[in-house]
Symmetry: C2
Subunit: 430 residues, 2 copies
């Protein structure tokens, strides 16, 4: 863990850059997986599942009896917790439903927007040791609120050909019934092109490893929308002397357990607090089962001591963190100065894991500095906003001349004529 | 112009596909332009401008005296027309400003979203014979309303090294003062990487030829956001016997003059109307200065006769047109059934060119079927929606247990610990 003391502003950009983990031949490998899926459909999916997940899957689609058995296996305690999280996430995402008014921009010209659900969406949920069922909540709940007609889910099977019961329960709880046992780049290909079993979708959501991420980037070129460009998870904490060092250390550590490529950053105007956090970090680290992963992530991470909290905010805006915790006095005042961040947590009791699971906000957020120009997933991600306009005879008479002049100046005379022909007809009607 | 009569549903998908215009080596060529710009900055820009635009540009940035002279050259008539258009576009895009409420998802847990402007945006405006100053309105007005701090504009110079006066006037009228004489893929590279003269931006907007489009796709991989994936412009008209055949023909033709790769489609339940439109189309075509371009575009285009307007709407939803004109009785009723479209025009007097220039809606829209999952440009395109949350001691006590259970089930124990450590402290406080 590096500590940087009052770096000159000219160095900030350098520190705000994320560490790079280039992967050899990644694009080539992923492109070949996608091409095979496009050409060979289900049989390619089965072959890749055998090769990568080490299991022979006969039925790609999860059966209703598999779902029934899985739901019975999930503890009541976990079911109850999921129900509470669902409620909070639903309340917050439902508040994002907005009916926009019809606007008469000039007499006789009415314009409006309407949110219309994306018809077919595909959710990708990674497998591996930890079943990320919370991501199903973050994608499935807004998809349901938006009214997406087809919501499918792909997730890789374990070596026994099974899906973690918590994943099957959570999907079913939300009313997502089309679940496919396929992971990796091949799952992205299946949802992008469609196979005999897996339907083609219009937009693909969800996190994944570098293969999944690259596959999403590549299928985007073929017209499939994706939620966000992805990178390793990260948190930036701004803390002053009012912060609780144990809490700060715990929040930093919670982000390191995602993977060795995660990055955590602490900015502070208090050298004392920084020292306390370091001590607490080392103490808490020893107790973690994933300590070795966390230790690796800490190697990419750093602390910066700056003169003021305002400077910390400026640095954070340059860094554009996925998660930003303001463990400072007057957090709400400084929140108004945040220009670039995915999700912001105010005060000592707003820990990032609350937003990851149950407070109501979405946890699918822009990483890697993308928060400068991308929003996290929200209800907006599952709809298109279609514009409508209705122009009356009076309306075209009001703006017709304007359009004619502009179209002519752009040398688009057929555009001009579409107006002229209408104005003439109205003239003749008189 | 092909006419298809009552095609079976199984053929619809085939007709809804856009014609492909593959370009050899496009990606390779564009990637090499981008790389040169990244490495050599301004000198690469000047070299490419000499090679492609046939002019030696000494100062890439347009000077204030150039702007002054240009503004004096624009006619008062055009200035007045632009002012009316600006007003309508402003009214509609200002109506998209929404302050979302703070939501208490559970007692002690407050969540909200805030729209924050993307700091630096770059607008690309194509050059060539027709100066597309209207696109400056469509991008510059929402950028200004959003409050983007830096708005720059790149557009290629003509062979005398000049920018069309209407472009300079329009930009200046909106308060956009940083204008650079550079076009093509090199302009996209300049805005993506920054050069000595052109600043790096966070998001790039604007239309362009295949080189510009490919360059936008490629820089997206480096973390620069773009407005939309682009394709040739298109219109789909649904017309019944109540439509005016001359208007329909004029609307179809207005879209064909954009380029030989544009596509126009007419769907109708009336064979008679279709015949009338064909006759009118041929008559109007003769009068157009760009008739040869229009004729080529008509070769990619087709008419489909279907049984009912409902079938026409279903076909249109499959096609997902950029522009959709409903020249039918009860247009408003059918508007509710539109699932996929960029912008919809209702009734006989809502011509597409109104939306292109002056009604208030945006004309930067998803083409090529992207309307299934993408929205057109709006105020939303110039902001990020950042989520915030504030959790009180009471709040973490309310949802702490839920988070602990879920984090443990996902085997993310550091996430769990960030909550446990807070709950314990509150316990100890008692």
């Amino acid at each position: 863990m590096k500590t940087i003391i009052n770096p000159p502003y000219s160095d900030w950009e350098k520190y705000a850059k994320r560490p790079a983990f280039p992967a050899e031949d990644l694009e080539e490998k992923v492109a070949s997986v996608l091409e095979k899926v496009r050409l060979e459909g289900d049989s390619a999916l089965k072959n890749f599942t055998l090769a990568f997940d080490k299991v022979n899957v006969e039925n790609i689609k999860v059966s209703s009896s598999e779902i029934e058995i899985a739901c019975a296996e999930v503890s009541t305690e976990l079911k109850d917790a999921i129900a509470i999280a669902v409620n909070n996430i639903k309340v917050f995402h439902e508040s994002q439903q907005i009916n926009e008014a019809i606007v008469e921009t000039i007499s006789g010209v009415e314009c409006w927007r309407k949110s219309v659900a994306i018809e077919k969406v595909g959710l990708y949920i990674p497998g591996g040791s930890a079943p990320l069922f919370s991501t199903i909540l973050m994608l499935g709940i807004p998809a349901k609120i938006a009214g997406c007609k087809k919501i499918i889910l792909c997730t890789p099977p374990d070596e026994n050909g099974k899906i973690n019961p918590a994943i099957l329960f959570t999907a079913t709880f939300l009313g997502i019934e089309e679940i496919y046992k396929v992971g990796g780049a091949q799952a992205i290909g299946a949802m992008a092109f469609g196979t005999e079993t897996v339907p083609k979708v219009d937009k693909i959501f969800g996190p994944g490893n570098q293969y999944v991420t690259k596959a999403k980037e590549l299928v985007q070129k073929t017209g499939i929308a994706i939620d966000l460009p992805a990178g390793p998870s990260e948190v930036l904490v701004i803390a002053d002397s009012s912060a609780d060092a144990d809490f700060v250390a715990a929040d930093l550590l919670s982000q390191t357990e995602h993977g060795a490529d995660s990055q955590v950053v602490l900015l502070s105007n208090s050298a004392e607090l920084m020292e306390e956090v370091k001590v607490s970090l080392n103490n808490q680290l020893q107790l973690l089962p994933r300590a070795s992963v966390a230790e690796k992530a800490l190697e990419n991470s750093f602390f910066v001591l700056l003169n003021t909290i305002n400077e910390c905010v400026d640095f954070s805006n340059l860094y554009a963190p996925e998660h930003l915790i303001l463990a400072i006095d007057n957090a709400e005042l400084f929140a108004g100065k945040i220009k670039n961040a995915g999700s912001v947590f105010l005060g000592n009791y707003s820990c990032e894991s609350a937003g990851d699971y149950a407070s109501g906000t979405n946890h699918t957020l822009p990483t890697n500095g993308y928060a400068k120009s991308y929003s996290g997933v929200s209800l907006d991600s599952f709809v298109k906003k279609i514009t409508f306009q209705k122009i009356t005879k009076k309306g075209i008479q009001n703006i017709g001349k304007t359009i004619e002049i502009m179209a002519e100046a752009e040398q688009l005379l057929a555009h001009k004529n579409a107006v002229s022909i209408r104005l003439k007809k109205l003239q003749d009607e008189k």
